[in-house]
C-alpha cells in the first residue's frame, strides 16, 4: 500500500502532498523534513529507493522535481517507480508537456488527477485514457456550470438594470 505521495522541488519546497495513512500535521512536517534531507542529497546513479523507518520510499526525479511515494516493505519497488511515471505521463497528457509551474499554479488539478489514479493507497486505474476521460468529464462539467452561473448573473444584471 502507498502511505503517502510527496512532490518536492530540488530546493526542498513542497509541491504536493497526499496522505493515505493517518499522519498528524506535526508528523507530516517531520516526515517531509526527514525525507527531503534523505532524498535530495542522493547522487544520480544510486538506487531510486530509500529505506526509512521500516518502510521504503521510492522516488524519481523529473528535472527539478522529485516524485516520492512511501510504500510497505513487501511492495514491488519497480512497480511503484512505474506508477510514478504513469502519473507523470497522465499529467503530461493533461497539461500538454507539463512543467513544474503547471503543478505550482494548478496544484489542485494535480490532486484531482491523482485522485483518479490512486485511491486508498492503491492504483485504481491503469489506463491513461480512462483517467484522461474522467478528468475531462469533470472539467467540462465545471465549464458548463461556469457558463450557467455567468448567464444567471447576466440575467440578474439585466433585470437589475
Amino acid at each position: 500500500m502507498i502511505h503517502f505521495v510527496l512532490l518536492i522541488s530540488r530546493q526542498g519546497k513542497v509541491r504536493l502532498t497526499k496522505w493515505y495513512s493517518p499522519y498528524s500535521q506535526k508528523e507530516r512536517t517531520k516526515v517531509i523534513r526527514e525525507l527531503s534531507g534523505l532524498i535530495l542529497t542522493r547522487g544520480p546513479k544510486l538506487c531510486n529507493f530509500v529505506e526509512w523507518r521500516g518502510l521504503r520510499v521510492v522516488y524519481k526525479r523529473y528535472a527539478s522535481l522529485y516524485f516520492c511515494m512511501c510504500i510497505d516493505e513487501d511492495d514491488n519497488e519497480l512497480e511503484i517507480l512505474e506508477i510514478i511515471h504513469h502519473y507523470v505521463e497522465v499529467l503530461d497528457r493533461y497539461f500538454g508537456s507539463v512543467c513544474e509551474l503547471d503543478l505550482i499554479y494548478n496544484f489542485h488539478k494535480a490532486y484531482f488527477i491523482l485522485d483518479e489514479l490512486l485511491i486508498a493507497g492503491e492504483l485504481q486505474e491503469p489506463s491513461k485514457r480512462t483517467v484522461a476521460r474522467l478528468v475531462a468529464a469533470q472539467d467540462s462539467l465545471v465549464e458548463t456550470a461556469k457558463e450557467q452561473t455567468s448567464s444567471i448573473t447576466n440575467i440578474i444584471a439585466q433585470v437589475a438594470k
Binding site: 521500516g54 526525479r61 527539478s64 503547471d102 499554479y105 489506463s127
Partner: protein, 998 residues
C-alpha cells in the same frame, strides 16, 4: 512576472519519459518555456478552469522567491492572517470562497495550520453545484483524518451525494468515503456503496470496490459478508473494475488463503488473457499488456500457491509464459519479472521455473542499474530459501553490493546476509554488521541491525567467548537502542549457562564475562542498559571464581554509581550488586569492611528521594548486620535461576488472622461473594461492551447479516451464483483440511457471520466451530512439517549437483577471502543440520537438549516462529523422509487416486473454459462457471477423511524426490553421520568442526 521564479522548469534529465509513446520534447529552452507558461496561465485564467486572483498568483510567486525558510514562514503567516479575516466575512460569493479554500490547502501543504478554515471546507461540500462541491471534497480529504470531529458533519452529505444521479457527484463522494469514513461511520454508508457496485458507470463501480477495500482494512468484519460481491466484480466486463477488485481480494486472501483456492483457475485464466493481450490497447503500458494487473495477479497467485502443490501446478504454464514474454529492457518489464520471481519462490517449487528465476536474478545482478541490483539482491534473498546453491553463483556480485557506497543497496545486502547466516559464517557476517552499525546515525536502522546481530549471535554463536564479546560490542555502540529484553536475555544466558551438564564451561563463561566487563568499565559514557547488565553480572559472579577481591569489585560498583549518578536504575542495580557481594562475603565467613566511598554512597542513598533506592540501601544495611547463616538463606550464591516459591494463600498469616477474629474482627469476604456490588459492575461492563462494538447507529435496526445462509447446504445456494461463492461454511471447512497449512486456522472461525467479539456470551451452548478448527490446524501442521521436510531434501540434492560445477573467476584475494568466509566451506549438510537444530529452539537460550523431537512438534514450532523453510530440520528422523528406499509407488498407489481425479477435473474445466468463447466477457463467466463445476468435483473427490489426501500429497513429493537417486542417498548418509555425532557445532564439539571446516 519575475523570471527567477520561473527558471525552475523541467530540464532534460528524464531519459525515461522519452520512452513513452507520446511524442514530446522535454528539451526546451527555459526562456521559451517561461513565455509559454505565462501564456497558458493567462489563457486558462480567461477560459475558466480555475479562477485565480492576482492575489493568489502573487502569493505563490513570493513564496517561490523566498530565499529562506524563515522568509517563507513569514509570508505564509501573513497569508493566514488575511485568510482568517476574509473567510469569516458574511456573504462571500462562492467563487471567492472556493479560492480561499484552495489557498488554505496551499497553506496547509506548506506545513502550516489551517484548521480555522476546516469548517468552511465542510460547508462547501453541502453546495449544490459540482464545481464548488468538488473543491470542497478535495479540501476535506486533504485536511481531515478519519478521526476528526468534523467527520460527523460530512457523513450526511456523503449519504446524499452517493444517491445523486450525476455520476461525477457520486465519484467525488466516493473519493471522500475512501479517505474519511472511519470504523464507526461505515454502517452509515455501507448499504449505498454495495448498491453502487451495480452502477452503470464503470468509474463508480471501481471506486465503490476500492471503498469496500478500505473498509475491509479498517474493520474486516464490516464487509466480510460481501465477499461474494467481490467475486462477482472479478468478472466485470470493464478491466479497470476487475483490476480494482484484485486489491480487496489480495487482502482477503492474505488473511485466509484456503477459502479462495477455488479461484486459482479464474486468476490463472485472467492472467493468461492479460498476457496474451486480450485487454483493450488502452491498458498497455510501454508495450507491455496491462503490467499493473499482471503484477497484482502474480502476487495473488503467490499467496494461493504457497506450499500447495495442486494449486501451483495450475500456475506453472502461465508463469513460465510471462517469464518468456517479459521485456527485460524496460523498467516495467523488470517489475513484472521480479514479481514472477517472487511468485516462483513462494509457490510449490518447479525446477524449470526456478531456473528461469535464477536466470532473471543473474541478469538483475549483472546490470549496471542500482535499482536492478537492489531488486536482484532482494529476489536472491527469496530464492535461497528454496535453492540455497544459487547464492554461490553470485557471491562476487553480492560482495560488490555490500561494499557499494549506496546505503540502500548495502542495507538490502545485509538483509540477504542475515537470511543466509549459518554457524560457519556467523562471525564474518556479524562483524560486518557491527562495523556498519557503528558507521551510521539512523537510529531506527541501528536498532534493527542491532537486534539482528543479537539474534544471530544467540542462534549461531561458535563460542561463549565470542558471544560475550559480540554482545559487548552491540551494547557499547547501540546500547540504549536495543530492547531491554535483550539485556535481560543476556543476563539469563550468563546465569543459566549454555544448558550443558558440565559446570566448568558455565563458570568459564561467567569469568570471561566478568573480566571483559571490568575492562569495559574503564571506558566513559556507557549506555544505561549495558551498565545494568554489568552491575548485575558483577554482583552475581564478580567474586565467584576468587580472582578478584570483594573490595576491588565493590570499588568498581561504587565508581559506577557515582559516575552515572543521574541514572536511578543503574544506581539501583549497583546497590543490589553491592548487597550480593557483601552477602557472599559474610556467608563465606570473611570479615566485611566497607570501603569509605561505599559508606558515603550508602548515606546518600539512605536519604534519597527515590523510595526504591532508599529501600535497597536500608536492605543492604540490614543484611550487613546479620550473621552468616541468616545471610546465606537470604542471598544464597549462584541461585539466580532457582524459582522462588510463593505461598499465594499467605498461610503463614493464619495464626494472626485467627487471633484477630477471636478478638472480634470481621472475617474477609472474597470479592466474588460480595453480591450487591457484583451485579452493578457486571452491568456496567456489558454496557461498555455494547458501546464499543456498535458505536454510532444511523438507523433504527440493522439488516440481519447473512448468518442463516451460512448453514444452508451448499448445493441449493451455490447454483444461483455466477462465480463460486463460498458462503456455506461446511464445505469450506472440509476443503481446508485437504489443502495446504492455513496461516491462521482461526481466520475461518472468525469469518462466521455472527459477530460475537466484544459481546458477552450469555446463553446457548458453545458452538461446535472452535473445536473443528483446532483439529484442523493440528493435522495441517503435520502436513506442513512433512511437506517442508521433503522439500528441503530435494533442494539439498540439487545443491550437490550444481556445487561442483561452480566456476572460479579471477578476483582480488581480499574479496575471494570474504566470499569464501561468507559462502564457502565444504560439507553443506553438516551446516544445515546444525542450523536445523538451532532453529528448533527459537528462544534465546542456546540449544539445551539434543533429543529429537517428534516431527509434529518441530513443525508447530516452525510455524509459530516463522523460520524460513531452509532452516527446517530435515535431520530429524521423521518417518517420511527416511522411507524412500522402499518403493513408494506400490505402497501408496491406492491413496493417490483422489488427487489425480481432482487434477484431471481441474485441467478439463480450465481448458474447456479457455477454448470455448473468444470474447473476454464470455470468458470470465465461462471460466468461473467451469471453476464452479470443479468446486463440486473437489468436494466429492475429497470427502474421504483428510488423512488420505495428506498421504497422497506426500507420495507425489516422494516420487519427485526418488528420481534424484544417488544424490539423495548421499545426502541422507551425510545426514545420518551428523546425527551420529550428535553435535551442534557451537557448543559441544567445536573442535571437531574446526577440523572439518578448516
Amino acid at each position: 512576472m519575475d523570471a527567477k521564479s520561473y527558471a525552475i522548469c523541467f530540464k532534460p534529465s528524464s531519459s525515461a519519459l522519452k520512452r513513452s509513446n507520446t511524442t514530446r520534447n522535454w528539451y526546451r529552452v527555459a526562456k521559451l518555456e517561461q513565455l509559454k507558461t505565462i501564456g497558458r496561465e493567462l489563457t486558462k485564467g480567461s477560459q475558466g478552469g480555475f479562477y485565480q486572483s492576482k492575489e493568489f498568483l502573487d502569493l505563490v510567486k513570493s513564496i517561490g522567491e523566498a530565499r529562506s525558510k524563515a522568509e517563507e514562514d513569514r509570508i505564509v503567516l501573513s497569508e493566514i492572517e488575511t485568510l482568517k479575516r476574509r473567510i469569516s466575512e458574511p456573504d462571500i460569493p462562492k467563487r471567492k470562497m472556493k479560492e480561499y479554500i484552495i489557498r488554505l490547502v496551499y497553506v496547509e501543504m506548506l506545513g502550516h495550520d489551517a484548521s480555522f478554515g476546516y469548517i468552511h471546507a465542510v460547508k462547501m461540500i453541502h453546495d449544490d453545484s459540482l464545481l464548488v462541491k468538488r473543491t470542497g471534497y478535495l479540501a476535506v480529504t486533504l485536511f481531515l483524518n478519519e478521526d476528526h470531529d468534523l467527520i460527523i458533519l460530512i457523513v450526511n452529505t456523503i449519504q446524499k451525494d452517493l444517491k445523486s444521479d450525476n455520476y461525477l457527484v457520486v465519484c467525488a463522494a466516493l473519493n471522500a468515503v475512501c479517505k474519511l469514513i472511519n470504523e464507526e461511520t461505515i454502517p452509515a454508508v455501507l448499504p449505498q456503496i454495495v448498491e453502487l457496485l451495480a452502477h452503470p458507470k464503470e468509474a463508480v463501480r471501481k471506486k465503490a470496490i476500492m471503498a469496500l477495500h478500505r473498509f475491509y482494512q479498517k474493520s474486516p468484519s464490516s464487509v466480510s459478508h460481501l465477499v461474494s460481491n467481490f467475486r462477482k466484480r472479478l468478472c466485470d466486463n470493464d478491466p479497470g473494475v476487475m483490476g480494482a477488485t484484485l486489491c480487496p481480494l489480495f487482502d482477503l486472501i492474505t488473511n485466509d488463503v484456503n477459502s479462495y483456492k477455488d479461484l486459482v483457475i479464474s486468476f490463472v485464466s485472467i492472467l493468461k488473457q492479460v498476457a496474451e493481450r486480450r485487454l483493450p490497447k488502452a491498458y498497455d503500458y510501454h508495450q507491455m499488456p496491462a503490467p499493473f494487473i499482471q503484477i497484482k495477479l502474480l502476487k495473488i497467485l503467490a499467496l494461493l500457491g504457497s506450499s500447495d502443490k495442486q494449486a501451483s501446478e495450475n500456475m506453472y504454464t502461465v508463469v513460465g509464459d510471462i517469464f518468456r514474454k517479459c521485456d527485460s529492457s524496460s523498467n516495467i518489464g523488470n517489475a513484472v519479472l521480479y514479481e514472477c520471481i517472487c511468485c516462483v519462490s513462494s509457490i510449490y517449487p518447479n525446477p524449470k521455473l526456478l531456473e528461469s528465476a535464477a536466470d532473471a536474478i543473474s541478469r538483475f545482478l549483472k546490470s549496471d542499474s542500482h535499482n536492478l541490483k537492489y531488486m536482484g539482491i532482494d529476489a536472491l534473498g527469496r530464492l535461497i530459501k528454496i535453492s540455497p546453491e544459487i547464492a554461490e553463483q553470485h557471491q562476487l556480485a553480492v560482495i560488490d553490493c555490500l561494499e557499494d557506497p549506496d546505503d540502500t543497496l548495502k542495507r538490502k545486502t545485509f538483509e540477504l546476509l542475515y537470511k543466509m547466516t549459518k554457524s560457519t559464517n556467523v562471525e564474518v557476517i556479524v562483524d560486518r554488521m557491527i562495523d556498519y552499525m557503528n558507521s551510521i546515525n539512523d537510529n531506527h536502522y541501528k536498532t534493527e541491525i542491532a537486534s539482528r546481530c543479537v539474534e544471530l549471535a544467540e542462534q549461531f554463536a561458535p563460542s561463549n567467548q565470542w558471544f560475550i564479546q559480540t554482545m559487548n560490542k552491540v551494547f557499547e555502540h547501540a546500547g540504549d537502542l536495543v530492547n531491554i529484553k535483550v539485556a535481560h536475555n543476556l543476563m539469563r544466558l550468563i546465569a543459566e549457562g549454555f544448558g550443558e551438564d558440565d559446570d566448568t564451561a558455565d563458570s568459564q563463561l561467567r569469568s570471561s564475562a566478568v573480566e571483559s566487563y571490568l575492562h569495559i568499565l574503564g571506558e566513559p559514557k556507557l549506555p544505561s542498559v549495558f551498565l545494568q547488565v554489568i552491575c548485575w553480572v558483577l554482583g552475581e559472579y564478580g567474586t565467584a571464581d576468587g580472582k578478584y577481591s570483594a573490595s576491588y569489585i565493590t570499588g568498581k560498583l561504587c565508581d559506577v554509581a557515582e559516575a552515572y549518578s543521574n541514572d536511578e536504575t543503574v544506581k539501583a542495580y549497583a546497590v543490589t550488586a553491592l548487597m550480593k557481594i557483601y552477602a557472599f562475603e559474610i556467608a563465606a565467613g570473611r570479615k566485611v569492611d566497607m570501603l569509605p566511598e561505599c559508606h558515603s554512597l550508602m548515606e546518600e542513598f539512605l536519604a534519597s528521594h527515590s523510595t526504591d533506592l532508599q529501600q535497597r540501601a536500608y536492605e543492604l544495611q540490614a543484611v550487613i548486620g546479620l550473621d552468616a547463616h541468616a545471610v546465606e538463606s537470604i542471598l544464597p550464591s549462584d541461585a539466580s535461576c532457582e524459582d522462588i516459591e510463593v505461598d499465594k494463600a499467605l498461610s503463614f498469616l493464619n495464626d494472626y488472622i485467627q487471633e484477630a477474629i477471636e478478638k472480634g474482627a470481621q472475617p474477609y469476604i472474597p470479592e466474588s461473594e460480595r453480591t450487591g456490588m457484583l451485579n452493578i459492575s457486571n452491568f456496567r461492563n456489558q454496557d461498555h461492551h455494547e458501546a464499543s462494538s456498535h458505536g454510532l447507529r444511523f438507523e433504527a435496526y440493522e439488516l440481519p447479516k447473512q448468518t442463516v445462509q451460512a448453514r444452508i447446504p451448499p448445493a441449493s445456494l451455490a447454483s444461483t451464483e455466477l462465480v463460486p461463492v463460498p458462503e456455506p461454511m461446511y464445505p469450506r471447512e472440509s476443503y481446508q483440511t485437504t489443502t495446504v497449512p492455513s496461516v491462521s486456522s482461526d481466520a475461518a472461525s472468525t469469518e462466521l457471520k455472527l459477530r460475537l467479539d466484544g459481546v458477552q456470551k450469555r446463553w446457548g451452548r458453545q458452538t461446535h466451530f472452535p473445536s473443528t478448527s483446532t483439529s484442523n490446524s493440528t493435522s495441517l501442521k503435520t502436513v506442513n512439517g512433512i511437506t517442508q521436510v521433503d522439500g528441503s531434501n530435494t533442494a539439498n540434492s540439487r545443491t550437490r549437483e550444481t556445487y561442483d560445477s561452480r566456476k572460479q573467476v579471477e578476483i582480488s584475494p581480499e574479496k575471494q577471502k570474504l566470499a569464501a568466509s561468507l559462502f564457502g566451506g565444504p560439507s553443506k549438510t553438516e551446516k544445515k543440520s546444525a542450523t536445523g537444530h538451532k532453529s528448533s529452539k527459537p528462544s534465546s537460550h542456546m540449544v539445551k537438549s539434543h533429543a529429537p523431537k517428534s516431527s509434529m512438534e518441530v513443525a508447530s514450532e516452525k510455524t509459530s516462529v516463522q523460520q524460513p523453510p531452509d532452516l527446517l530440520d530435515f535431520g530429524e528422523p521423521t518417518v517420511k523422509s527416511t522411507a524412500p528406499s522402499l518403493d513408494p509407488f506400490k505402497d501408496l498407489e491406492g491413496l493417490l487416486e483422489p488427487t489425480t481425479q481432482v487434477s484431471s477435473a481441474v485441467n478439463h474445466s480450465s481448458t474447456a473454459a479457455v477454448t470455448k468463447s473468444p470474447d473476454i466477457m464470455g470468458l470470465y463467466t465461462e471460466t468461473t462457471a467451469g471453476a464452479h463445476h470443479k468446486d463440486s468435483d473437489i468436494l466429492s473427490g475429497l470427502s474421504n477423511p483428510p488423512m488420505t489426501n495428506m498421504v497422497g500429497g506426500t507420495t507425489t513429493m516422494q516420487v519427485a524426490q526418488s528420481s534424484k537417486g544417488p544424490n539423495l542417498k548421499d545426502s541422507l548418509e551425510k545426514d545420518a553421520l551428523v546425527r551420529q555425532m550428535g553435535v551442534t557445532p557451537s557448543s559441544q564439539n567445536p573442535n571437531l568442526f574446526k577440523d572439518i571446516l578448516g
